[in-house]
């Protein structure tokens, strides 16, 4: 990175621990507001439990609505963490350093939000334990053919793996906080959490190996999670638009599109809120913007192939569904908004370097992407179910109720609150990684030019 700012280790500690050891003025207000939204959502959910699923807009034939849309959306967002961290770590991309933790932490909270959506959707959450065999002596087992077993199993595995991933990368930073925390309990808690970290060569070696191993191990889980979510739809042959073999890779690349966009969005927010201009440079936004051009274009190609093959069948129900999505209100407006916001507005924007290097414009364009990707999931799920079948007894449409809207809003507030709380207790930019980045950075002079370089250990 040519725009690199060389900082002393003390300066890095001071900057990146400012949010942990102190408290910005806006912090309490933001937490209060998010708690209010969450409380409203929980209240709405309590009402739903009390009255039953009838208070939602779900009815025959549309029995999967906002909650499932939101579930798929949050699973998608969760893919950013591993995409950014594991893959960029394995490929030794230097620009990853300040970005990784934001992405990893977002993974954890978005997975929790996704899991909660399944609970909101089932209507009788107290029966959730049926997902797992709860009493071997009775010979009762879960129905392994059900998506309600696949999804929690995959998502829980991913959640555990991602939490370990974050924790291992966090240990050296917790030790830094331990040494600076004041009060009666904080040093003790941080002391316990950092597992006696002293920064010996052996500890560093083990930490690095664990990070690489977890990166490699969590990658297949990352792929499996959204594949399984996509198969919830794709293996069903009764709903037009769902039974498509491309769904698994299509969902994954869509997830990466929305997830990486969300990371760029949070990077901009973090930069503004914690004044991290020295760490999150225009170069980082530029790198993410380039990555997003590739990801978005690939995603659009998958979308295009999915559509072509839907038309290629020449089966009238499939064609009728596509007609409903594109030519009939209200779906046609949503479809138009989806295309514009997920691809046709942001990607041309990212083609300009000045846009990619502007945190404000990147923030704006990536918000658009996530609006578009939420709509994409909605348009996959709802029109397929709502399409009128030959038998008229269950003709109907879907309108989300206020309960669903409040509960969905709660998940957004939950993730935001989680990120805020995390950043209050732990550094949101990895301190040790930034210091390492400063150490391995070099320059090579070639003629009159100075080329940025980095140190690699000889194999």
């Amino acid at each position: 990175m040519q725009e690199h700012v060389q900082l002393s280790q003390k300066k890095i500690n001071d900057d990146l621990l400012a949010g942990v050891l102190g408290m910005p003025k806006w912090w309490l207000g933001a937490v209060g507001f998010l708690l209010l939204v969450i409380a409203t959502g929980i209240g709405a959910y309590g009402y739903e439990i009390n009255k039953g699923l009838g208070v939602t807009g779900l009815n025959r034939p549309v029995l999967w609505g906002f909650y499932i849309t939101n579930f798929v959306f949050w699973i998608g967002i969760s893919h950013a963490g591993i995409m950014i961290s594991a893959i960029l770590r394995l490929t030794q991309a230097e620009w990853r350093r300040p970005v990784t933790r934001v992405a990893e932490v977002m993974t954890i909270f978005s997975l929790m939000a996704a899991l909660s959506n399944i609970m909101f959707h089932v209507g009788r959450p107290w029966r959730l334990f049926w997902v797992y065999p709860y009493d071997f002596s009775r010979g009762l087992f879960m129905n392994i053919r059900s998506p309600f077993v696949w999804d929690p199993s995959a998502v829980m595995t991913y959640l555990i793996g991602s939490t370990l991933f974050v924790y291992v990368a966090l240990i050296p930073d917790i030790a830094v906080v331990r040494d600076r925390a004041t009060g009666k309990f904080a040093p003790k808690i941080y002391g316990m959490l950092c597992l006696g970290w002293r920064g010996t060569p052996r500890q560093w070696k083990l930490q690095a190996i664990a990070g690489i191993l977890l990166s490699a191990l969590v990658l297949p889980v990352f792929v499996s999670v959204h594949s399984i979510v996509s198969w919830d739809f794709a293996v069903a042959i009764g709903v037009e638009g769902w039974h498509s073999t491309i769904f698994a890779p299509y969902f994954i690349i869509g997830a990466i599109h929305s997830g990486v966009s969300a990371v760029a969005m949070i990077m901009a927010l973090a930069m503004w809120m914690w004044k991290l201009d020295n760490y999150l440079r225009p170069d980082h936004f530029d790198a993410i913007g380039r990555l997003l051009i590739v990801v978005a274009t690939t995603w659009f190609f998958f979308f295009f192939v999915e559509w072509i093959f839907a038309l290629y069948t020449l089966e009238s129900p499939e064609l009728a569904l596509r007609e409903l999505q594109v030519f009939q209100a209200p779906y046609m407006w949503l479809f138009l908004a989806f295309l514009l916001t997920s691809f046709f507005i942001p990607v041309p924007m990212w083609l300009f370097k000045s846009v990619r290097r502007s945190p404000g414009l990147m923030f704006l364009s990536t918000i658009l992407v996530n609006i578009g990707m939420w709509l994409e999931r909605f348009l996959i799920i709802i029109p397929g179910l709502a399409r009128r079948q030959p038998l008229q007894f269950d003709w109907g449409s879907y309108h989300p109720s206020i309960v669903e809207i409040l509960v969905v809003a709660e998940t957004f507030a939950f993730v935001a609150l989680g990120m805020l709380l995390f950043s209050k207790f732990f550094p949101i930019i990895p301190i040790f990684d930034m210091k390492e980045g400063m150490q391995v950075r070099e320059e090579i002079k070639i003629g009159r030019r100075i080329v940025p370089a980095s140190i690699r250990e000889t194999p």
């Binding site: 069903a236 769904f247 698994a248 192939v305 070099e442 690699r456 000889t458």
Partner: protein
């Protein structure tokens, strides 16, 4: 932050990490130009062997021509070999494009090895020509990407030879882009040959290198153009696989509607392309005298790619299989029965084991990945697996009775009447050998015209790398130009 002068440090000799065996750029030039100028016995033997195989293939082709073009079943192995070359040789240049875009230094000796396979792209274009006569027009009622429908007033206007027209155009574009990429990347080396070679080679390189003298403007333009042509090559490669795997494969098997398969076809080709390049590297190292350039760095990096793409093979295959198998739709069950568990089961199992199971079990070990023999043997396995995978799909599709016959249902295979496997005859075996020989011959001839190791990229690496002491160890410093 220290600043170092590259030239000062490169005078040291280091055995590991982005190894360059020479201390000056002049030595690199001399070594590579001398190697390229010399016509070795091994190269002549290779040309003779490949030429002999090609002659056998031509004999097989003539025998098949005598059978006529009306029965597509006899051309099934020919179609399979066309797709095999498209999958392997035409995908190999991607190994040059992607790491170059990512600025990976290990790719420097590998780039040209990969780009030279563009020459075989011309061969795949030649192989495609007879297929234009063999594949029927869309009038038989089969599904098509071009939505031809004789009963519809609008779609009846679609040209009935649309698959032929568009696939030809795409293949032509792919071949042209491949040659353009090779030429662009070779231009600085051709200019060097213009200065250092003699005879016909000097004339040839003078003509092709144009006015290249290596000004800053020319270098900037070259990098820019290579980036654009590389990106276009990748897009065209995916598009060609999309067209071929749909119009020349899937539409021939009634009921086979697999939206993922065009991408699977392309992903498989990336895996086979990497395997092709690893195998070529091995031969150049073993028999071409390039052991100083193809070191563990290159084999290690390439084997990681091969391993990742082998895992991708499984994921794509399983994504399609699971949806068909779990969905239990009769038409899709029949397709599975025909292509995987029925007559072509041995070929499917061979493909599955060689393209996925073996690479997974063997290449998960770093010791294997970081060796010369491990990636090479796995490349052979992957190429053999790709061969069997293409065999079970293309031979099955081209042998399905009724293609071209409008009276036969094009939308569903009857589950109980799965056709038997089409076993190869003598002409088919000759064609298989001939096509492999032809592709290798094209490569060997191209490697006589253009150095198989990029001279300018090797020289550039000497500028971007240096070794330095760091506390108690020694580290490699690599420059990453923007």
């Amino acid at each position: 932050m220290a600043s170092h002068n590259a030239s000062g440090h490169n005078e040291e000799h280091h055995a590991e990490g982005m190894y360059v065996p020479f201390t000056s750029q002049r030595e690199v030039v001399n070594d590579l130009v001398t190697k390229h100028d010399k016509i070795s016995d091994k190269w002549l033997s290779g040309v003779a062997a490949a030429g002999f195989l090609l002659v056998l293939g031509v004999i097989g082709f003539v025998m098949r021509v005598n059978d006529g073009v009306s029965d597509r079943m006899v051309w099934a192995y020919y179609a399979m070999m066309f797709s095999f070359i498209l999958t392997t040789a035409s995908a190999a240049p991607m190994v040059a494009i992607a790491p170059r875009l990512a600025n990976a230094h290990w790719r420097r000796p590998v780039s040209r090895v990969a780009e030279l396979w563009s020459a075989a792209g011309i061969f795949s274009l030649l192989l495609f020509i007879p297929m234009l006569w063999i594949l029927p027009p869309l009038t038989d009622g089969r599904r098509s990407l071009w939505f031809y429908n004789s009963d519809d007033p609008f779609f009846s206007k679609v040209p009935v030879y649309s698959p032929h027209i568009w696939t030809t155009a795409a293949l032509l574009s792919l071949a042209a882009l491949g040659i353009m990429l090779l030429w662009l990347s070779a231009m600085p080396d051709l200019a060097l040959m213009r200065e250092h070679s003699t005879g016909w080679k000097q004339k040839w390189s003078a003509r092709l290198s144009g006015r290249w003298i290596g000004t800053t403007e020319q270098w900037n333009m070259l990098h820019h153009r290579m980036g654009i042509v590389g990106a276009l090559y990748f897009m065209m490669l995916v598009f060609v696989h999309y067209l071929v795997s749909t119009d020349f494969l899937m539409t021939l098997v009634p009921g086979w509607i697999d939206s993922l398969y065009p991408l699977t076809h392309a992903a498989n080709s990336l895996q086979a392309g990497v395997a092709t390049v690893i195998l070529t590297m091995f031969f150049l190292r073993k028999f071409g005298g390039y052991e100083d350039y193809f070191t563990l760095d290159q084999f290690w990096a390439m084997s990681k790619l091969l391993f990742a793409l082998s895992l991708l093979w499984f994921w794509f295959w399983f994504s399609s299989f699971n949806v068909f198998w779990y969905g239990k739709k009769p038409s899709e069950q029949a397709v599975l029965k025909y292509l995987m568990v029925g007559s072509y089961q041995p070929a499917f199992m061979a493909g599955f084991i060689l393209s996925f199971v073996t690479p997974l079990l063997v290449m998960m070990w770093n010791r294997v990945r970081k060796s010369f023999w491990g990636p090479t043997i796995m490349s052979v396995a992957v190429l053999a697996g790709t061969f069997f995978d293409r065999l079970r799909l293309y031979v099955a599709a081209w042998s399905y009775p009724g293609v071209g016959d409008y009276r036969v249902d094009k939308h569903e295979i009857p589950f109980d009447s799965i056709p038997a496997a089409n076993m190869p005859g003598v002409p088919d075996v000759l064609i298989v050998l001939g096509v492999i020989g032809g592709a290798v011959l094209f490569y060997l001839l191209a490697a006589r015209l253009i150095p198989p190791v990029s001279i300018w990229e090797q020289k550039e690496l000497m500028l971007y790398k240096l070794h330095k002491a760091y506390h108690r160890t020694e580290v490699l410093v690599l420059g990453k130009p923007r």
